[in-house]
Symmetry: C2
């Protein structure tokens, strides 16, 4: 635990008190607060847009890329969409109170395992003001207090948003300290948050690989690692070629900037000569540059494809491009594909395209990842697609939660044991 007088520790202590008040709240009370937030966001749109304009101007002055400035920008339409998302969260089932198991023990004790909030959740994220509201809504719905540590480049926006959130929940009778911006814009405040063990129950970093690595390695608070996706599409010897081309192009190019986009193609040797010419042309049409191993380079040359194909290095197998680039290799067998994946995968999503039931079964058994796709695009690994209704992130670790995390993943459990004077 950090210095007891620091602003971050003070915020965490107030969050802890608020969390104790939130834990027993009925769903109706929490949902009313979420509807109050949605209305307040709409009512105070002008104030939010104005605060955001300061951040946008600063970012533009600093020469920030247009894509990042766009992600940072709030408009009336975007605020309305954020408010709609909050109302959607209000409509989701409350995970708190769900009985996960229950039985009467042989000695007559009644045992129930019940979902309870985690307590205080810390979110560390980049310059996306929508995450501020989104994360706060999901934490409140699941009965947790939240400490928000956004990018300093969105500080003005986040300050305005959190003021709106706090006013709204206070008016709804909830403790305002259930939602707080972590004080301070410097890196020190992140460090203090990472060291607030005993006050903060979990940290969820959302953002690039270096942010996540920093938090994972420096935190004494338990961390849920999210979002790094070095995803593979393996085209088996028994693949339907049309299907394989569709799945590959969709996995790579439908939205290359996200963690569930594919980064590497692995092709079984027995189908490479028929599959690769078709695949390379389709990738070229999608604007994808291929980083190929010698076999892929040879196939490209032999087929006279229009695709841009350059030689891959070991670094390519390790890279999450998040761009219109794809590493590609020919493998001798399904087991060789599995071995490649085991070596280089980040454990996010791996896909096989095959018409062989034994191949599908072996691949799903041997590949160790949050999600394994059989004859489907890697792009389906998503809380919305999976029907979870909401997503706080996609966990690529094995502890607590793996894959898309919805509201239940923001809870812990408690055993409640009831007797009538039982002793051992």
């Amino acid at each position: 635990m950090g210095n007891g007088t620091s602003a971050v520790v003070d915020a965490a202590q107030r969050a802890r008190v608020a969390a104790a008040d939130l834990a027993p709240l009925a769903r109706a009370t929490k949902d009313a607060a979420l509807h109050a937030i949605a209305a307040a966001l709409e009512n105070r749109t002008a104030e939010l847009v104005s605060a955001n304009a300061d951040d946008v101007a600063r970012a533009a002055d600093a020469g920030t890329s247009p894509a990042i400035v766009d992600r940072l920008t709030l408009t009336a339409e975007r605020i309305a969409a954020i408010a709609a998302d909050v109302r959607h969260v209000a409509g989701l089932p409350d995970p708190v109170g769900e009985v996960l198991r229950g039985s009467t023990l042989p000695n007559g004790l009644d045992l129930r395992q019940v979902r309870v909030p985690l307590g205080v959740v810390g979110i560390i994220y980049e310059a996306r003001p929508n995450v501020t509201v989104d994360a706060a809504a999901l934490c409140l719905k699941s009965g947790n207090a939240v400490l928000l540590r956004g990018s300093s480049s969105a500080y003005s926006s986040n300050t305005a948003l959190v003021a709106v959130l706090r006013d709204a929940i206070a008016a709804a009778g909830l403790p305002a300290d259930a939602v707080q911006l972590v004080p301070g814009e410097s890196r020190d405040s992140v460090t203090e948050l990472m060291r607030a063990r005993g006050l903060v129950d979990v940290l969820i970093p959302r953002g690039g690989a270096s942010l996540i690595r920093t938090v994972v390695e420096g935190s004494t608070v338990p961390v849920i690692e999210t979002g790094t996706g070095n995803c593979h599409v393996y085209v088996d010897a028994a693949a339907d070629i049309d299907m394989a081309v569709d799945i590959l192009v969709n996995s790579k190019a439908q939205r290359p900037s996200v963690c569930n986009a594919a980064e590497t193609l692995l092709v079984h040797r027995d189908i490479a000569a028929r599959f690769l010419p078709r695949a390379l042309d389709a990738l070229a049409d999608a604007g994808v540059t291929v980083h190929g191993d010698p076999a892929v380079l040879a196939a490209a040359e032999a087929s006279g494809t229009k695709a841009a194909v350059i030689a891959a290095t070991d670094e390519d197998w390790a890279t999450e491009y998040l761009s219109y680039d794809l590493a590609a290799a020919v493998v001798d067998s399904l087991d060789a594909a599995v071995a490649h994946i085991r070596r280089w995968s980040s454990g996010h999503t791996e896909a096989i395209v095959t018409s062989s039931q034994p191949a599908a079964r072996r691949f799903t058994q041997l590949v160790d990842a949050a999600a394994v796709m059989v004859n489907a695009s890697t792009r389906f690994t998503d809380g919305g697609q999976f029907g979870f209704g909401a997503e706080i992130g996609i966990s690529t670790q094995k502890l607590h939660a793996r894959g898309p995390m919805g509201l239940p993943e923001l809870t812990s459990t408690k055993f409640v044991v009831t007797g009538d004077g039982h002793t051992r």
Copy 2:
């Protein structure tokens, strides 16, 4: 990740390879290996007792307390009991492959969330050779490779035990490297294990508070915190006094050295004058020394109890005695009891004794602990008592597992998504 050439990292890398082989194994194969272990422990008892004698002699020479030497000692009878425990684990259901949820999504994709092994589990523990076998059996059953880091004072025993385990599983066709003793007796090997992120999936420290604190604060590998129990018994105004005395004495004195023993008594002011004289006499009969607040001291004096009652300090409220000592305070209300617990509890087990349904409901809602007992002894928080069949430890953290951990808590999950060419 540590130095690639170190013996610990090398062991972890071999464990990782073994874990990949274990993951898809059928239950029958794993159970056969467990039965082979049990038979080998019995067949090689003489060898194990002899190796253990070296540790026992060293411990005795070093002036180790008789209680700890006793825990360290292996006899033929104890080895037979350990073998029986391994056979019991073989008889438990296999958690791997259990489908936790499954549905067909609106687009026709089949979604299944399936239990899979965690991978490589590290166990750091004290001078209890039985834990070596017990932890290995639970990890194998759940498809995990295990790295065992026992106390250096049990090194000879553990080396012999792990040799027996490895021979037995290799003879049963499993990779021997699925069970390894962490090489090296120095503290450095613990540090390297804690830094083997990416190779080790979870560390479970089992032992005293300082060991657990060291691991929790120094580890980059995810940790499951276990075993610290500053447990409270709250006697409500509406308690049945006979029941409250029984539960209190059982919680404190049935086995004071374990984490689910009670350490603090809280008594509602309205029942204190009737309850405390009875309770103090019963505690005296059980050999318990009471560390009381002024109200308890006054009650003791007024009642003329034979109990040993001394003045409590703040340190008493924080202490896990693990001995025949009990802190005791009078509180003004149920909410004051909850506030005391919130401040001092380690979140293990908290009990209320009451005949009031609203009081029981409020206490179970407000108290944040792995287990909350209503009219039952704190001593029931235990994997065996809860019917889990086995226990690798009792988690006092909120992430991944909370309370007694059985075989399912040694698993993660994987989403398997099956389509017929689905793209977004």
